[in-house]
Amino acid sequence: MSQPVISFDRVCKSFSQYNHVTAGIKSFLFHLPTAIRSLRQAKYTALKDITFDVQKGEVLGIIGKNGAGKSTTLGLVAGVLKPTSGRVFVKGRVSPMLELGAGFHRELTGRENIFLKGVLMGLTRAEVAQRLDEIIEFSELGDFIDQPIRTYSSGMLTRLGFSVVSSLDPEILLIDEILAVGDMDFQKKCVARMLEFKSSAVTMLFVSHAMKQVGQICDRVIWIENHEIKQMGPPEAVTTAYTQGSEQPHSP
């Protein structure tokens, strides 16, 4: 294999606790000593010593409990977060698939939102226009495309979101639990589209709680537990271990 397109080298990420600050200037000044101390010391560690590589065209699944650090990992890849220590290397245009309706504006129509989101994701308006028909067709929204999206159901929002991002020639695709909504037919269509991407060597990071889909799509899976990589390997082995591991506390 050639050189990786995503590389994490002993990456740690901790967040300062900003609650004393975001409460406002007034509260900051009234609690100045505590506020400064909390800014300096109180850190929340989201990721500890994470190292992994992703090759071009590889599909990497990321599983783990809520709050384990999966979304932070995606944030680092997308470049919206900076690592506290270690090095994050990403080569290529990153297309994050956002959660329900994010990056859309409720008052604009589906069509207007396609342009808004497409340009925010790094394409020019002309490039979005070229793909417009394809996007609308894939979304199955029909006449709803010219309605403001506040009238959309959650399934329709997901369909629009998936259609936009998947039609934009992604190089690195980040998918964060987006397939949980939408009906069975559309989920199948999404999985089919992702397998299509896989064959055309699009690199994907896939965060999901749906172990079946993880097994279906991924080449390799990382299990993040307590902000560290607990296990990394072939999908079947890791998902099995994860399922057993998370069932244990419940069994008597």
Partner: protein, 264 residues
């Protein structure tokens, strides 16, 4: 999937940046006013109603001795409205786009740029109203508009953008900044010669006018729009404040922008 026709790299990046500003501004305009004609009326309704109130209070009751006071009022109120809208709304710009900022890596300052641009467009559409008032009062038009208006547009854009960028960034960390901003803007409104001429300010206070970053700009607008004269001192001061605002806004943004996704 179709391939994009090949274009020079720089060209595409510039094109994309322009498109970013375009879609963000278009979004703001569409969201704020759903229908275009009513939207236009709204954009001038507020400053006009303010003008009406001040006309009533100062011309009809206090009998201020200024000719063409209605024209005098709107030549100050229209630019002020733009400045005030951009600054007041700026505090919420990043907050209201939090889901985007947390996921997508794009130049966030574009959101602020679009906000100020959109207010500037509203202002530009209000200029014909000033022209109309000039006709009504039989005021002459001035050559100085040719260079004065574009120059002041740029200067005010810089001032509004710089302050807005600073406030939008800082408000993510100190969330009560937006309340403070509203109060400060109200105070500044009365301390800026918007509805009174600067020569009515008692002479021993007059040197302090320049300390208010908004004042030299509003005075310059008034000079160009109302009398057609340009006071070089005030003009230079407004250019200076504009440049300073852009500098401070940019520094604040650079310093804080990488943490935006963490605090949202």
């Amino acid at each position: 999937m179709q391939k994009v026709p090949w274009r020079p790299v720089l060209d595409r990046r510039v094109q994309h940046f322009l498109d970013l500003i375009y879609v963000a501004t278009e979004k703001d305009l569409k969201v704020r006013y759903k229908s275009s004609f009513l939207g236009y009326l709204w954009s001038i309704a507020h400053p006009l109603s303010l003008a009406l109130v001040f006309y009533f209070a100062f011309k009809m009751i206090m009998k201020i001795k200024l000719e063409a006071y209605a024209l005098f009022l709107i030549t100050g109120l229209f630019p002020w409205q733009w400045l005030s809208n951009s600054v007041t709304y700026s505090t919420g710009v990043f907050l209201s786009n939090s889901s985007l900022i947390k996921k997508v890596n794009f130049p966030r300052s574009v959101l602020v740029f679009a906000l100020v641009l959109q207010d500037m467009i509203h202002f530009a559409f209000a200029v014909p109203v000033i022209v109309l008032f000039k006709f009504v009062y039989g005021h002459p038009f001035h050559i100085s508009w040719l260079y004065g208006l574009p120059l002041l547009l740029i200067v005010q854009f810089g001032l509004a953008f710089g302050i807005a960028l600073m406030l939008a960034s800082a408000n993510l960390f100190f969330r009560d900044l937006e309340r403070l901003t509203v109060i400060l803007m109200t105070l500044l409104f009365y301390m800026t010669p918007v509805f009174y001429p600067e020569h009515l300010v008692p002479s021993h206070y007059r040197p302090f006018i320049v300390l208010n970053p908004m004042a030299p700009l509003i005075i310059s607008w008034r000079n160009v729009l109302f009398t057609g004269n340009v006071n070089v001192t005030y003009l230079l001061a407004s250019v200076g404040y504009s440049a300073l605002a852009v500098l401070v806004g940019h520094k604040t943004y650079k310093r804080l922008s990488w943490k935006f996704a963490e605090v949202l």
